[in-house]
Each structure stands twice: as structure tokens, then as C-alpha cells.
Amino acid sequence: MSEPPSLGRDDVAHVAGLARLSLSEEELDMFTGQLARVIDHARDVSSLDVHDVPPTAHPLPVRNVLRTDDPCPGLDRDEVLAAAPDVEDGRFKVPRIVGEAP
């Protein structure tokens, strides 16, 4: 393949950071190689002439899957909160958040 590598080690470290994954040096090397192969595989498509092909938003030839605006019962709160690691005042208790909502 004549094109430059699709993905570098820094890219993988960045994406891992976004996904809150902590990777060792060895893992970074391993995933850089694996992910680069995946992306190169997808890049094969760019060798095809697709200028006459309309963009695809979804593989299924289906549109407008909709429901009417009718309420239906959800889950019982006690049941929901029972699955949470920690709870206070009927709400999920989560660790201190650094920074503000995006």
C-alpha cells in the first residue's frame, strides 16, 4: 500500500483517552497495529469510483419508523435504583465530576 499509515500511536492514545481506557505501552503498540489494519481495510473503498452512488445513511432500505406519542409505563424506581452502585434521595449517586457537562 502506497498511502501513509492510516493511524499512529498518538491517535490510538487519544481515542483511548476519550473512551476512558487506560492502555499500557505494549497495548498501545498492539492496538495501533490492529486498528490500522481495520482502517486500511475500510480505505479500500476509496479506490472505488462511487461518484454516481448516493450516500447511504442506513443499510436497510427503510425510512420513517415511528411510534405515536402515547405514554407507556416504564420501570419501577426501586427496581431501577437497585441496580445502581450507590443511591441517594431517589437518585443515582455518582463520583465527583471534574469539569462541567459538555
Binding site: H14, L18, R63, N64, T68, F92, E100
Partner: protein
Amino acid sequence: MSAAGAGADGTSGSAVSAAGAGADRADRAEWETVVGLEVHCELETQTKLFCGCKNAFGDEPNTNVCPVCLGLPGSLPVLNAFAVELAMRIGEALHCEVRPSSFHRKNYFYPDMPKDYQISQYDEPINVGGWLELPDGSRVGIERAHLEEDTGKTTHQGETGRIHAADYALVDYNRAGVPLVEIVSRPDIRSSAQARLYVTELRAVLVATGASDGRMEEGSLRVDANVSVRRVGAVAFGTRCEVKNLNSLRSLGRAIDHEVARQVALVEATGTVVQETRHWDENAGRTVPLRSKEEAFDYRYFPEPDLVPLAPGSDWRARAARAVGLLPSARRERLAGLLGGAPTPQQVDQVHVVVAQGLDDLVVAAVAQGAPAGVALVRAANELAADLGAALVLDPGIFGRVAVMEAQGELTATQAKAVLAELLAAGGGDPAAIAAEKGFEALSEGSLAAVVQGVVEAHPEEWSRYSAGEDKLAGFFTGQVMRATGGKADGKAVAAELQRLRR
């Protein structure tokens, strides 16, 4: 959450402190304010955007949740048709092109979304292009108005209550998945006053389409402002900062003024503004840095595989267009028409208030019942607007009866206000019964004339001064008449009687 597509640019750590009102007027005259606004509007649906959970404000925490909006494995979103309908109405009302669209996942780590992504529209929004004309005749371009889901509500717990000092947070997912339309304006706004006017008019449009209840104080409408400055005559835009946490029109205006002064001082001192996201601190009256451009979120948008494209047919689009009610400009014209003749400046203001608050149908109904438009208008603009929540659910017939009673002299203005307040507090009732209960019997014309005559005779010195043209004494006489009648006299009738006696 900020807009898809618009990007969250930001930065922090600027060395120059906020300028406050420091930049003086002479300097400010060289600078032009440039503002674009992002308005998040919660839609008035029964259910959430992708599940059948109730869309309700103020319910017990985590009682309107299900596997879909909690992001439990194996659950699948299904789009709410009425949310699409309301989004299309908004698009039509803002003169947008309503288009086929698709959904993306906006990925980020924050506990306000249990899925760790928000479903939004990215490169194919439902509404594109458009404009909103403001009452002053200016026009603000609309970039896009897209559908997305709201996030849950996090409450930070800690000694100071401040985010950075919080020990932990509590999360309520009742709001997670509530349908939103985010309306992104072009950077066409040139002052804080125009920004306030834009939000006021947009709010009225959203209420008129049935898409929103317009309650900023409940978070139904939330505003972020992109602010930059440039020298007057410059073509290129300056570096912008996005200001968040604008929870009222007052905050919006103050934050823009503060941010413009800060940026002008910054450019004059250092020649440049650092692109960043800032947080409006209402109590301190200033913006503080939230994140830098370098710290900006990388949302890794990708197409939502669980949702198929949306392409409403022309029939549905036409139905949505027809469902858009009378827009505020037309509503203002309708009220002006009922007033007949040229409205006074006060009436122009009253018309704006009444239409902006969605009270104009009540005025129209009162006029149909026989009330003069001017009387109904002033009561709507003052008494109804003062208790908006109650006014919007008041039986129009009841309001009409009060306006008719006032117009026919059965109630004085003061009495009509008291009766209305009582009706609003009770959520309805019989105006005549309330008036009787309060002992409101308007004075007949004859007995009023007698009281006025008596007051005049009791104060000959003041009367001669009033007769000689000292108009401010009218207030003195009116006060005396009110005292003599226990407040039952109609101020206008007293003024008319005084004028008559003076002639």
C-alpha cells in the same frame, strides 16, 4: 448539551481578567458586537423522543425511566412521530427548508447520559436555513433547527454547591431523552438588546406553533451565546467565545454586555481573544472560563445504527405547515386591528407583552363577548401576565365577563384587578359572585358626582388652585374621593368629573 455540528470550541486560562464595565463608551463606539444564539427548546410532547416514558417537569426523580432512556443493553430507540411534527412546525414557522434527515450518536463521558452518548442530528438536520423577523423590522438568519434528546439532570452535592468543589453528584434521568429542537441562529445579532428581542420573539413563535410552553424558568428554553467583537467596518469576524448558563433574558443581556467589554479590553491590551467556552456567573455578574479550544470535546459523531433515516412525505409536511398557528407578527396585527385607530405607545407595549406571553387569544375572546379591546388588553398585559401559569388555563369566558363588567362600570379598574387576582388564584369562579362577596358595588354616576362635589366644597383653597391650572392637585382630589368611598370609585370617572367641574 451543545449543538451538533456547531462544535464546542473552547479554552480556558486567559491571563487577562474580566474587564467588567471597564471599557469606556468612547472606546466601545469603535467596536461592533457580533452574536449568534443557540436555543434549546423542549418539545410539548406527551412522551420522550425515543421511548414511551412521560415527558413531564417536576415529577419524582427517576420515575419516568425505562430500558431505552436508561441505556440498558438490548433496548432500541423508536422515534416519536409527534416530536417530528413539532420540529417540522418550527421549521415552517422559521421559513426553513424541511428536509430528509438522519440521526447521529454524539459520544461523551458524563453521567447526565447513561448511554454515554446523546442522539442528535449532525450533517443532515431536519430544518436548514431560514429567518426570524423581529418586531423592530430586523431579520436574524437561522442556520439550522435540528432534533435531539435532552440529558438527565445532575445535582452537585458539596459544601459550597460549586461544581469544582462538589464531593459527588446525584442524577435524575426523568429528563434524559426528552425531545429538544436546537435552533442555531447565524451571527446576525448586533447588540444585547437585539439578542433579547430575538429570544423573546422566538419564544413567542415556539409557543404559537404549540411546540413549547416557553418557560425559561423551568428550563423549557435554554440559551447559549456565541459572542465576538470586531472593529466597526471590519468584514472578518473576531474570535468568538461561547457563553453558557444563560437562564433568563436578563442573564442573556448582561452576559453579552460583559463579554463584549471583556473581549474589547482583551483585544486592546493583547490584540487577541482566546477561543474558549465560558460560564456566566449570575451572582458575580461575569463570565469565567470553562474550557479551552484544546480541551474542547471530541464527540466522535457517527451514524446511529439503531435508527433509520427520516423523510416525511409532502402530505405530512403540508399538514405540519397548516398546523402552525398564527405567528406573533400576525397576532400583533390582529390585536392592533381590534383596538382600531392608532394604538398608544402603552398599547403597543401591551400588545407585545400579551402576544409574547400567549395571552392574545383571551383578549380576542373577551372582545367577542363584548368587551372593548383596550380594557381587555390592559388587564391581560398586567393582571393576566402577572400570574401567567394560572392565566393560560383560565376559562376565556370568565376573563371576558370581568372585562365586560369593568367596561360597563359594574367594577372599577381597581375592583376588576382584585376580582381577576382572586379568579386566577382559585383557578376560576363566578366574577359577579366574587365581586358581591368583596362588597364591590361600583358607585352610580350620580352618587359619585355627589361625593366629588362634597370633596371639592371641603377643600376650597385646593380647588381654586386646581381651577387655576395646577393639574397635579387632581391626584389630591382623587385620593380624597377614594378615601370617602372606601376605594370604590373609578379613578377615571373621578378624573372626568373633576374636569367637568373645573370647566
